[in-house]
Amino acid sequence: MAVQFDLVSPERRLASAQATEVQIPGAEGDLTAMEGHAPTITTLRPGILKAVAADGTKTFIVTGGFAEITATSVSVLAERAVPVEEATPALMDSLVAELRDAAAGTDDKDAADKIMADMMAARRAIGQ
């Protein structure tokens, strides 16, 4: 009862392992993908991505991207993804600053505000 979980960023493959479930911060709400999930493609909002496996749970901070879910695999393509152990306050600050820069360039203020709020919520969730 496992799915193949891949997390790739443009520069490298961050994780590739078997997982029993993957919790994904989807743009329209969190979802958990397990074996036999209906094929879905969803965009991500900034948040926390968890891959639960028999030998432990891996947690990542993602700031956006999308996930492709099939019955047997979950591929997450994130532009920025950081393992939670490496998420120092300074790194989080730089992620926030990046999002803020990106938000400044868009006209859709509501969407930008939501992204910032999501990012702050993710930060609180890991206790920073």
Binding site: P10, E11, T42, F66, T70
Partner: protein, 288 residues
């Protein structure tokens, strides 16, 4: 006939050159390995991205609400050529092959009465194209200070291209770079990025889309542009090191040949001088 001293100096100087080219070759061999690894590491993301976008664009592409990045502006009057070259020379024909391809394309478009705008990445390409296409240049991205090309660099270029597109500055964008095949072969490539084109667009499994297909596509297309630029930058990086490696290998071998040739001449004229002196001594002795 150069003097012995001149020949000696010449040999010493070519020996120094050989040392330098040999060192450069080894440096680029190491850099090539790193560049290839980077290109390899970036492949899964680019492949997935392409597959998903190809699937999406196959289903959305025909509808009237398709995003402009995919459908285009219904015109192809103004072309933006993004010419990516290296920041340094001494890498064989690497920079000139890209510049030549871009120049041919630009002239072709100009002959058809289209407007051509050129954005250069890397100063070598700018220098070469400035000679005859200076009036068409609209911008330049400097990567001189960048030691290792990262996704952030690609994003910067993509942002510049997308801003210009949104401002209506051009209709079609094409990137020019060298695709890496092997150390001795790099293929100059032109690739259209706006409007997006996908090869092998097959609608595979039926996916649920969250939010809608259009919303996902609109979100993905700008990322797709950045990904394509990033892939091109990495290919270019590997090609540059490969080209430099084989150019420097050639230079080292040429220097070796040259040293051999000059050493032969040097020995021969040294022997000639000795023989001449001997003859002078002997004939002087006989005259007594």
């Amino acid at each position: 006939m150069p003097s012995l001293k001149d020949l000696k100096n010449k040999i010493a100087s070519v020996k120094n050159t050989r040392k330098i080219t040999k060192a450069m070759q080894m440096v680029s061999a190491a850099k090539l390995r790193r560049a290839q690894e980077a290109a390899e590491a970036a492949r899964p993301y680019a492949e997935r991205m392409n597959a998903v976008m190809a699937g999406l664009s196959a289903s959305v592409g025909t509808s009237a609400s398709a995003p402009r990045l995919l459908a285009g502006t219904d015109k192809d009057q103004v072309h933006l050529l993004v010419v990516m070259t290296a920041e340094r020379g001494l890498c064989g024909g690497f920079n000139s092959t890209i510049a030549r391809l871009a120049r041919v394309k630009a002239n072709e478009l100009l002959a058809q009465g289209k407007t051509v705008k050129i954005l250069t990445v890397g100063k070598k390409g700018r220098e070469q194209l400035r000679r005859d296409l200076e009036a068409n240049m609209v911008g330049h991205v400097d990567l001189t200070d960048v030691k290792r090309v990262g996704y952030a660099n690609a994003q910067g270029i993509a942002r510049e291209v997308l801003t210009r597109f949104e401002a209506g500055e051009f209709d079609v964008a094409t990137i020019f770079y060298n695709r890496f095949q092997s150390v001795i072969s790099q293929v100059p490539t032109a690739q259209q990025i706006i409007p997006a084109k996908f090869e092998g667009a097959t609608t595979s499994a039926l996916y649920d889309y969250e939010p809608s297909e259009e919303a996902i596509l609109a979100d993905l297309l700008p990322r797709g542009v950045a990904t394509q630029i990033f892939t091109a930058l990495l290919e270019n990086g590997a090609s540059e090191q490969g080209a430099r490696m084989s150019a420097m290998d050639n230079a080292t071998r040429n220097a070796g040949d040259m040293i051999k040739k000059y050493t032969t001449i040097y020995n021969r004229s040294r022997q000639a001088a000795i023989t001449k002196e001997l003859i002078e001594i002997i004939s002087g002795a006989e005259a007594l």
